[in-house]
């Protein structure tokens, strides 16, 4: 390694050490994100607040309402005495779902007639509404089933004796591969790694280089014997090192604190992370060549990165996107890295499964870095 490059890297590291807050932020940011994802963000929908209007007030209706409360999915938030009063809690957001049991509920059940109840769903959050609707249907079906087997005219062994068909169920044995308890944190932690490497690193690199241009010290560097490629590497290598350090820190915290299992190989992850870093640092380099001020660098980086985060498949499945958009995502390096990290963490996938993504990353990364380097050299030389 050329001595000039070594000096430059030492200068960068010295600068970083002086700026304690920056270092702290760069190491702390991923841990903070990890905690947010680990504790706050969950895809399970529970404690759905419910407002109940039970005009029947019999043992049957109380049993029905209690089955909702017992399920753990619903919290009974409000009781009202008339159906017209159900609107207010839902409008104010105090309840997401309303359950109305009419006064003839028990009588109709006793006469073996269909009893009708009303369910009102706040459709604003259609995810929660859909899930709440699903739970409701399931709970009502279970309640019906319990009544069915308990009643003398229902299905069950007694019915068989009377020549009626037996309600013999199909038993469904579900198995979940790779994330058996469907813990959101297992799913999100790989995402945090991608976010940090993919967004923070790019912006920081771009800003760091532009900062020197703003301060005028870049000119000073140019008149020294330093070659453009040494300058480029000297600026990007420290961030590459910090990025990898971040990955290691995240993996340690994720495994030790959050008990996120890693089914695949850590070293493979680090190697592929280096490939991904090619793309992010290359992008940072490119942005630095088109920005005059730090604010421009930051805004441009944000403008490019925010859509790529949304389209990367990290939070929203790519397969649900329109065809045209799916084609665009092939050009987004983050997409491949998300698949790689998830594959290694959750499914124990090896290079034999992930080689297409790895190849895409190396291809894209090499191209981006080479083009950016060329542009960087031209602007300096």
């Amino acid at each position: 390694m050329s001595p000039r490059l070594g000096h430059l890297i030492r200068k960068e590291l010295l600068q970083l050490r002086r700026d304690r807050r920056m270092l702290f932020a760069l190491i702390f940011a991923p841990i903070f994100q990890l905690f947010i994802f680990g504790y706050a963000v969950t895809l399970d929908i529970k404690h759905i607040r419910m407002v109940v209007c039970d005009l029947a007030r019999t043992a049957d209706s109380r049993e029905l309402v209690n089955s909702f409360a017992r399920s753990g999915y619903f919290d009974l938030a409000a009781w009202v005495d008339s159906p017209s009063q159900m609107g207010r809690p839902i409008e104010s957001g105090r309840a997401l779902i309303g359950l109305y049991v009419p006064h003839d509920f028990s009588k109709r059940l006793a006469r073996d007639e269909t009893a009708q109840i009303q369910v009102i769903l706040d459709g604003t959050d259609m995810n929660s509404a859909g899930v709440a609707g699903g739970y409701t249907a399931a709970l009502i079906a279970q309640y019906s089933g319990r009544r069915q087997s308990a009643s003398p005219t229902g299905g069950g062994p007694a019915a068989a004796g009377m020549g009626m068909p037996v309600l013999q169920g199909i038993e469904n044995r579900p198995r979940i591969l790779y994330n058996p308890e469907l813990r959101s944190v297992n799913y999100m932690v790989p995402g945090v790694i991608c976010m940090i490497l993919g967004t923070v690193m790019t912006a920081m690199t771009a800003m760091a280089i532009v900062r020197e241009r703003e301060a005028g010290t870049l000119e000073q560097l140019i008149v020294t014997p330093i070659r453009p490629w040494e300058l480029m590497l000297g600026k990007t290598l420290p961030f590459a090192a910090i990025g990898l350090l971040d990955v290691v820190v995240i993996i340690i915290v994720a495994r030790a604190w959050f008990q996120v299992p890693m089914a695949g190989s850590g070293p493979l992850l680090l190697v592929l992370a280096i490939a991904f870093l090619l793309t992010t640092l290359g992008l940072g380099l490119f942005i630095s060549t088109v920005s005059r001020t730090q604010q421009q660098a930051m805004l441009t980086a944000f403008f490019v990165l925010m859509p790529s985060v949304i389209l990367s498949g990290f939070m929203f499945p790519i397969e649900n996107m329109p065809r045209a958009v799916q084609w665009i995502t092939y050009a987004i390096p983050l997409r491949y890295f998300v698949e790689i990290v998830r594959g290694i963490f959750l499914r124990g996938a090896g290079i034999s499964v992930l080689w297409p993504q790895a190849a895409a990353l190396v291809g894209l990364g090499g191209t981006i870095f080479a083009l950016s380097a060329l542009r960087f050299q031209k602007r300096l030389g």
Binding site: R21, M22, A25, F32, Q33, I36, A40, V41, L43, I45, R49, E91, L109, E113, T114, Q116, I117, Q118, V119, G123, T124, D125, M126, N127, A129, G133, G134, A141, Q148, Q168, I170, E171, N172, R173, P174, L177, Y178, N179, Y187, M204, M207, A208, E214, T293, Q294, Q295, M298, L299, F302, F303, P307, F316, P317, N320, M321, P322, V325, E339, L346, R347
Partner: protein, 373 residues
């Protein structure tokens, strides 16, 4: 407070913004880009789940069950397995997201009333789709079986004694744009804070021009207010853009009172921009200001305030803490105003909280900016 000095500060900031047209373009274009992405590209509905199938029985019953699953559009058979053991590899390669393994004597067991079991396999690596796939599979299998039995029961005998009538309020087609676009307004305004106002003071500190401000007669209050004015204008442009495009392109309604909407949006605007300003006052370098702004304003707004992930699923402690964030309150307010047509009588607690936070943030910036070197 002198209007002349205030206007001088604002004019200087406006000059700075105009000399950097790219930043202005980003501030105005990025919201549009996000709107289009979230409106057209993102889809929360889970459909066409790729299913691998093992059907050794191949009778009318087994085919009917599979047909029932695929007819709804929720599942799509992409792979027919030769052996049940193949399922795991297919899932690991992500060729399929779920697998259905039927037993050998499915139809004959059902007809004879013998217990029978199917196995469903789901790729838990994508827990969003996995839990939905699981519950759909379960519900559809039970539903299919119930309907088969219904056909064999004597006429007039209802299988299900309870029939729920479900009504959906406010968003009858459960359209995700109605849900997302009001939330986007909250996120984007907070984004402007993270990107723009978080830089405004610290930039002067880095460049050394803050000394000039400190020795001038400008008071801290005039400085903060003057700095905010141009960004308030940009923010309003974004509000108009988002609500206008939301209405024209995605038919997102505004069912509440427009005056209330404008008033509360203004309060939130001040809170968001004020948050950025506060960060700008307390940091020493632009890079750190940017990082902190991302972590403290933008990220929480997108993840913790009910934008996509429901608040009630978070731990209690966090639910309480996040009430300090202005976006939490405005998220509820804007959705209630746009979709539910809610009025002041329902919204006043949230509005009060938002105003208090707003005042605290802007006041805090003024208080913290010490006119010393």
């Amino acid at each position: 407070m002198s209007a002349g000095r205030l206007w001088a500060v604002a004019a200087k900031e406006i000059h700075y913004i105009l000399r950097d047209p790219r930043s202005l373009a980003v501030a105005l274009l990025l919201p549009l880009v996000l709107l289009i992405l979230y409106g057209y590209a993102i889809n929360f509905d889970v459909k066409q789940i790729r299913l691998a199938l093992y059907d050794p029985d191949r009778t009318a019953a087994s085919r009917d069950l599979v047909e029932a699953l695929t007819r709804t559009g929720y599942f799509r058979v992409v792979h027919v397995l030769a052996r049940p053991g193949e399922a795991e590899r297919v899932l690991q390669r992500r060729s399929a997201q779920a697998a259905l393994i039927l037993p050998a004597r499915f139809e004959s067991d059902l007809a004879a009333g013998r217990p029978t079991a199917v196995q469903t396999l789901v790729d838990g690596g994508d827990s969003l789709t996995a839990s939905i796939a699981l519950s759909y599979l379960d519900a559809m299998i039970q539903d299919w079986q119930a309907r088969r039995l219904q056909q064999t029961l004597p006429r007039g005998r209802a299988l299900a004694p309870i029939e729920p009538q479900v009504r959906i309020w406010y968003n009858e087609d459960l359209s995700s744009t109605n849900f997302i676009i009001p939330g986007l307004l909250v996120v984007i305004l907070m984004m402007l804070a993270a990107l723009l106002t978080s830089q405004t003071i610290v930039r002067e500190r880095e460049q050394g021009t803050i000394e000039g401000l400190v020795v001038s007669p400008v008071t801290a209050g005039e400085l903060m207010a003057g700095k905010l004015i141009p960004y308030v204008v940009i923010a309003w442009a974004d509000v108009a853009l988002i609500t206008g495009a939301g209405r024209l392109l995605f038919h997102v309604p505004l069912r509440g009172a427009p005056a209330l909407f404008l008033g509360l949006t203004f309060v939130y605007l001040l809170a968001a921009l004020g948050a950025g300003l506060l960060i700008s006052v307390v940091t020493q370098s632009q890079q750190v200001a940017y990082l902190i702004a991302l972590i403290a304003t933008l990220l929480p707004t997108m993840l913790l305030t009910g934008f996509v992930f429901p608040l009630t699923s978070m731990p209690r402690v966090l639910q309480v803490v996040v009430q300090l964030h202005p976006a939490t309150h405005f998220m509820v307010i804007v959705r209630a105003l746009m979709l539910k047509g809610a009025g002041w009588s329902v919204l006043w607690p949230r509005a009060l909280a938002l105003t208090a936070i707003s005042a605290a943030l802007v006041g805090g910036s003024i208080a913290r900016f010490r006119k010393t070197l």
